[in-house]
Symmetry: C2
Subunit: 367 residues, 2 copies
């Protein structure tokens, strides 16, 4: 109601078209279109006139119509498998920030780790003609999916996990290296019985952690103790109690993620033990809560926000150059040592949080 367009035949507000602008400014539709797309072909005087008409008529660009002709929607599909997990929340925030800067906008779907849901969403994305996909493949994703997307002509960047054979575009963290850092740290603190809990599933991200664990343990000439569990707080709570009841209980545990580590620390307390004194605990992710737990948790920082940003950047690059060399961006994890693995550590300010250090990124290019 505020500003009715002056053109009389427009039925509801918001349906002013290029045609209307053209008539008002005394030029052709084409010229208005060029102005909207900041083309250098248009004379400055004309451009100003057109801009003025656009303003007075309250025109709104119709991206749908533009996409029909240009087959570019400025739209991306993002699939994660658990948006309620703060790690993915941070990642999505990073994606959002990077896309926002480039005037892109993203569809989000939560696959709930169901390949069927994931596929349905991807099909829908195809109908909406998104320019590309950011995919955290759900559990049990058919590796052929990536080839299918490629058949569909849909650029796809995998994030955090990956399936199928390289080369593909991928952004994630070097989890193998992360677990190695954790084990090395614990060995340096004198631990010899170092267990690993987590990882019943078989993604790349889980496998990488295993590799890191077994390799590091072997390097130090120690005996591995690996317990497969779910990846929840609850699972950590139970797993630690199982381990501590064994004939040779571990003196330290490395956990698949921070949630499990918190669970493990609670489990230790339930047993009357003190985390960091009776048994060291190391997590993975370094979520905000890690600095403020009791005791503060040593954790391998995996920079979800930075991963999100990198993934988005990668996708935009692939859209601009569909046949360019595939790229893998792998951020280096960083170990944040706190009291849960080092009771001797000074009692610091509780919120010494780590900043994402994206400059540690390693870039691989597969031609």
């Amino acid at each position: 109601m505020a500003r009715q367009p002056t053109h009389p035949s427009s039925p509801r507000p918001g349906s002013v078209t290029l045609e209307d602008i053209a008539a008002h400014a005394g030029v052709s539709r084409s010229t208005v279109s060029l102005v909207l797309r900041e083309s250098p072909l248009v004379a400055e005087r004309t451009r100003d006139n057109v801009r003025a008409s656009i303003k007075t008529l309250g025109y709104v660009y119709n991206r749908g119509a533009a996409a029909l002709r240009s087959s570019r929607t400025h739209t991306l599909g993002v699939v994660v498998y658990d948006i309620a997990n703060p790690f993915f929340g941070a990642m999505v925030a990073g994606i959002d920030a990077a896309l926002h800067r480039e005037n892109y906008v993203s569809f989000l779907a939560n696959s709930e780790d169901s390949p069927q849901r994931q596929l349905r969403f991807l099909e829908r994305m195809r109908e909406h003609r998104v320019d590309g996909i950011l995919l955290c493949p759900s559990e049990g994703t058919d590796p052929a999916l990536i080839a299918t997307l490629s058949d569909w002509n849909l650029p796809c960047v995998q994030v955090l996990r990956h399936v199928g054979e390289p080369p593909f575009d991928y952004a994630g963290t070097d989890f193998e290296q992360g677990v190695r850092l954790a084990v090395d740290h614990l060995v340096a603190r004198g631990h010899r019985q170092i267990a690993f809990i987590g990882g019943e599933a078989e993604h790349s991200a889980t496998l990488a952690r295993w590799r890191g664990y077994f390799a590091a343990i072997a390097d130090h000439g120690l005996a591995p103790r690996h317990l497969r569990t779910a990846l929840t707080r609850r699972a950590g709570f139970e797993a630690i109690q199982t381990l501590m009841a064994e004939p040779t209980p571990p003196s330290a545990v490395v956990c698949h993620n921070d949630l499990m580590a918190f669970g493990a620390m609670l489990g230790l307390k339930r047993l009357g033990l003190t985390p960091g004194v009776d048994c060291a605990v190391v997590g993975t992710d370094d979520v905000e809560e890690a600095a403020l737990s009791d005791p503060p948790l040593t954790s391998v920082a995996t920079h979800p926000y930075a991963i999100g940003e990198e993934a988005a950047r990668l996708a935009l690059r692939r859209i601009a150059d569909p046949d360019g060399a595939r790229e893998q961006v792998i951020l280096s994890p960083r170990l944040q040592v706190r009291e849960s693995s080092d009771a001797a550590e000074r009692h610091q300010d509780p919120a010494t949080t780590s900043k994402a250090s994206a400059q540690h990124a390693r870039r691989l290019t597969t031609p």
Copy 2:
């Protein structure tokens, strides 16, 4: 490459159109369109033929083109101010689930609590011609925004927070009632010095908590003690230490959210006090972590997933009937009592989580 469309002039795979299907099935474009939209006007034989052609040619529906003509995109814009917060993660999951069922898909934006970013996103949504908006208004949102959206002909459902004057569509929780429940519970346990921490900002959601707190305290003839702080874990950690250093320290605190409550419990431990024994702590939200903290946290459950679902349903209803009566769906909170407010409670299984009880919803309709 898998299945090349038989139509020779199509440049890349995936660009099979209605025209191609029509030619292949020996009918007109219009008929194919009717089949796609499950129109009862088409004879069964014809429908089957067309379906077969669609399959063999590998046709993909182009929603962009359809939207151009029908001005319905089957698309929604969702704005939250902190997607990294697990509460919003759960809410978005609820929204996603509800929309998925109705073949809708949603754009997500993280406003980072900036009205400018929020507005930019909303403008972009308008360009994409979304059918509606789900909005958690960012801090400092101009109340006129809701009227502007209405001018734009964009149905908008506010979620969790709201600005502007009713009537509008809204889905949220009765925070006032929630805080009341918490205070009543504490009084019943014999507490007389009950403080409230949190809420320096001025949203509806914060104001409602205040109202609940002051009203309940007054009802019981007690003296209020309210500390305004930020809404972070860190803030809770500091606030409790401030309060406990006062001449009459509280015997119980109610916190704006669970994050702050966790911080407060940590702060008590830092002072050598035991949460639940030396000072009771109650949070709000009942996040998953609450059941597994040390001690388990009493919390007012606010059902984010259910709120998300209700909000999405509301939006779809409004799209179908733009001039219908505005609705407010307000879920009733439920108090989940655990040891942090009741040290005498039996040591239960740590993960007795609450199920969202959406049947407690109260529906208001403003004509």
